[in-house]
Symmetry: D2
Subunit: 351 residues, 4 copies
Amino acid sequence: MIKAGIIGATGYAGAELVRILAGHKQVEIIWLGSRSYIDQAYASVYQNMFKIIEGTCLDDNLDELVSQADVVFTATPQGFLASVMKEEYLRKAKFIDLSADYRLKDVGIYEQWYRIEHKSPQFLDEAVYGLCEINREQVKGARLVANPGCYTTCSILTAYPLVKEGLIDPDTLIIDAKSGTSGAGRGAKANNLFCEVNENIKAYGIASHRHTPEIEEQLGYAAGHNITVSFTPHLVPMNRGILAAEYAALVKNPDGSLPGEEQIRKAYQKYYENETFIRLLEPDVYPETKWVEGSNFVDINFKIDKRTGRIIMLGALDNLVKGAAGAAVQNMNLLFGIKETEGLEMVPLFP
Amino acid sequence: MIKAGIIGATGYAGAELVRILAGHKQVEIIWLGSRSYIDQAYASVYQNMFKIIEGTCLDDNLDELVSQADVVFTATPQGFLASVMKEEYLRKAKFIDLSADYRLKDVGIYEQWYRIEHKSPQFLDEAVYGLCEINREQVKGARLVANPGCYTTCSILTAYPLVKEGLIDPDTLIIDAKSGTSGAGRGAKANNLFCEVNENIKAYGIASHRHTPEIEEQLGYAAGHNITVSFTPHLVPMNRGILAAEYAALVKNPDGSLPGEEQIRKAYQKYYENETFIRLLEPDVYPETKWVEGSNFVDINFKIDKRTGRIIMLGALDNLVKGAAGAAVQNMNLLFGIKETEGLEMVPLFP
Amino acid sequence: MIKAGIIGATGYAGAELVRILAGHKQVEIIWLGSRSYIDQAYASVYQNMFKIIEGTCLDDNLDELVSQADVVFTATPQGFLASVMKEEYLRKAKFIDLSADYRLKDVGIYEQWYRIEHKSPQFLDEAVYGLCEINREQVKGARLVANPGCYTTCSILTAYPLVKEGLIDPDTLIIDAKSGTSGAGRGAKANNLFCEVNENIKAYGIASHRHTPEIEEQLGYAAGHNITVSFTPHLVPMNRGILAAEYAALVKNPDGSLPGEEQIRKAYQKYYENETFIRLLEPDVYPETKWVEGSNFVDINFKIDKRTGRIIMLGALDNLVKGAAGAAVQNMNLLFGIKETEGLEMVPLFP
Amino acid sequence: MIKAGIIGATGYAGAELVRILAGHKQVEIIWLGSRSYIDQAYASVYQNMFKIIEGTCLDDNLDELVSQADVVFTATPQGFLASVMKEEYLRKAKFIDLSADYRLKDVGIYEQWYRIEHKSPQFLDEAVYGLCEINREQVKGARLVANPGCYTTCSILTAYPLVKEGLIDPDTLIIDAKSGTSGAGRGAKANNLFCEVNENIKAYGIASHRHTPEIEEQLGYAAGHNITVSFTPHLVPMNRGILAAEYAALVKNPDGSLPGEEQIRKAYQKYYENETFIRLLEPDVYPETKWVEGSNFVDINFKIDKRTGRIIMLGALDNLVKGAAGAAVQNMNLLFGIKETEGLEMVPLFP
């Protein structure tokens, strides 16, 4: 049994980790870290876990934790892990960080977008960006995995094959994303009260959301050069789910024709055909967040708009699963040489 | 592998059966019956099942079905199974009927409340009311299981120990129940449109809902005599979940005192202590439907109101799981001698 | 023009007062009190008011306010007004208190249920309980109006005629009420976050909610003696609306018969026939909260259950309008001799 | 009093017309047309109108209607009005058509996108596109007003000043719009059931939605040449509201600089400064649909993204008010020389 510790176990992403690991046959949760609920029964914070999770919330004592755990998940605010990380920890346990601390290779970009100082940039080089479908091999040998952001996982996977194959111009990429409210976390803010979110939709973080440089870095690798994209997130009155609509100019074929439906479909298949968790939908069927709820799937499809010469790509995932905890467990499975899908074969809940 | 056929596989209860059986290690679904979608890929009706369920919807040919299946689930409108059932079918396969056709022993009461003629009352005697926590032993040997209604499962289990132990007067029982909208089914009715349900709550079936006689019959067995209850269902703007608030006068102890907290708690424990799917919550923690969503749990608790001499009992379940498909699978497990919880250990989804 | 000041103008009830008064032809808002947003533009807190309300939030300086205002609305936490009230204020301005401070005549009951000391019980006698449909004449001459609670307005009006006429036994009264989340206020509590309320229903304040003694006092006046009722509120995933289902034993007529449909209907008509804001629905049509949203209506109907000898009464209102701000404006209209419905003829918003 | 007839009075847009006209001091509704509910009391279909609207639903007899009415509103399916319209009707009454029949000047484009034959193209020339903020003067003298679509009103008004002033390149315009479910109408379709829409978001009509050519035509007039845009609508789990996020490349100033914040703001002010129903929000405050709910406002703002050289424009309105019935009443006010805002000064409902 893999011994897993979670720091930040009472946030929504942490709680989803607990839910998934509770059904994982090869993992035992040995540490439920939560500063806010120290010494309280975990199931008294998340009553859905009553009679399922027996443990009590602990303070975050990393020295102790790494001596007991094989893997440490940090579902903590930006800056936390960077501020405490040291070589010794990485020698004792694997780390999967659900925060943004090790996602961006360029510490300057991190500090510019997150507006905090990075306290341990020396680990940036070795950290592996844990988007399994793209970085599978690197993840396997990592000590420190930077688990991707929820918006970014959806945004990147939806466009990746077309960027990689040069079928779209990445600098024309406009990503209009919509998220359920669990993405905003469990902090008690008036903005996230039921009455403020219900019967309402709004954009936020306009031209300034922190997931932008993460998308640009990763899709830049695929493009082979630096790129700049427009990214706009929206808050939707639902608990879970991200839907990304992505617009880009198609790059003409050498013969001057626009790429066709078949050509685009083949590009997606080339990269995703064997991916368990990516479902390229059938023609004319477009992703809906409800179809992936509670599961680790990303549903993807596209439509070519000949009138404008653009393509519309659509992707959907559950922000707490494939957008956070599910991806983290997928990374863990890779790190420990377990079947990649272990514990992650949840069937989506509908309705 | 148990071979299972489902008639009515594209209603919400049928689809939930498919979801649960898809994760059941000892069952193979061999028949996805759906009159409305004959020859269409099941996953084209429920896209959440894409790449999970491969089959195509079939017409309901029971003659053929019973020759292939070990167990037949009927998630069909009232009257369907009663109108086609025959001895031969029961000899060939086990039947678990999610409709109300075999729930009431008295055909007159059935016809009065459902306003349809019962076409096969000869099977009423042998049918077993499939509320496992109460009728476990009878279910094991049954050929025909009448799977309980969603409201009734919640209403009965919440009050059962106190009725059985004579701690409340069952004729004072008032059940005020609230259900998510999936209980209304997938039929395209204006009443169930998003805009009519959202931002709205209403009572319906007032003093006339069909689950009333089912509750009265089963709690009447517990009481040892016929009883009459008030039952009022409400439609709540959410997909899943039933919450029942049940009010009754406490019966005084021989010494004239009201039953106390400990006494009541012991009565619940006496019947439910070893039940995996019934969670008697800790004192002062009351059920919420979200805590059981997607799972087979029933959460129960109570409060004594000394001022009025009444007790308030509260129960919550997921109407599609413990209130329908989960209970059906639990019955199936009993029928086939499998571990009762097999395929049913889903952790509730929160948020 | 009546000059109105509001203390607590940025809570949901206060904001609803602003909305209603903004459309009231004979009122000018001269004071928008809000401790949390002092010196901020009101419309920056409630952007729906942009270009409608020009003012800035002020601190609560009652000495100054009463020298400028004809009427002061206090939409403040329990205990606030009681702690600052003095005779001088009442001489200078009319007060309409939306908190519970002056609703209960018995200071002991107030302190027992609210668990705070009442700092000005000397005004309890003169305060008028501002349920216009019942206390219209007393309100007209009042200096201090105790605006009723949201649950209580709904609960009382739904049962009042039958209690008053002796058609039901008030001690058997069980009130199961359901409220939208705006009733919980705008305070940033994790319990009221979107993700915790959405897709969820729960009971709370079981056998201990503070509106219980208020209902008992007022219906006790109608009954002519002290009564005890069961009251259970629920939180529903919607913004606005309260639905109350009220159960009681019918009192037999002198000839031993149960009261009939016509008899009950006449009792309601006797009290409500000329009430603009109470709509007794037609037979077999039951209240839904959406039908009164944004309006000052209370919709009421009932069903006799001959099987149990009980009646089920149902009432619905918008908790922020008739349950708070609308009732307050109705009281103000009475206090100042304006047409009672002035500013309150909003048509319900559907869907 | 203006005598108004409504055909299609029981759809959501028709019902909103009834709601708004019920509060309009100079209008009397004399005809509530509804084929589905002939001879039924209007308030039995929309119970919110109980004791407010007394009339009964009538069949659609236009010959009779135009002899009684000063103005006829048609809130009917595409093709209805075009199939019955004749010169005689236009001589007897003013027509405000909420369908798309007379919105597009080019009958070929109408037939291509709507896939129905236009039965009275002879009236296309005289029909005035009723977007008051842009076509105010033409509307005043019209006999036949084509009331704009909900998405189009939002999409056009949000971008219009910048297109008109040449500050953005209209051919780069990408409109990602999100709508509440009332936009889908009251037809009983499984897709619009509560359980299918709730906890879900999806795009639809991708690269094929019928509002696309309407946007292109109107913004083409502003641009001075034909344009092509990308338009993607989404279905959001809420009743009311449209939010449009619109992306376009900024056109550089003659000196090579990008237009700045002040320059853009002035362009909006130039066109909208005196518009009652358009609220250009303050810098860094972005539209949310809840802030305009129930009102005739359009809230607009923008953000320049220097990194990409693009601007993001955001607009929000209530699809049933400014997106349909409110705009129709605004048109009616212009047609009859009444104050343009009469009956339309509803304060947005929040929360």
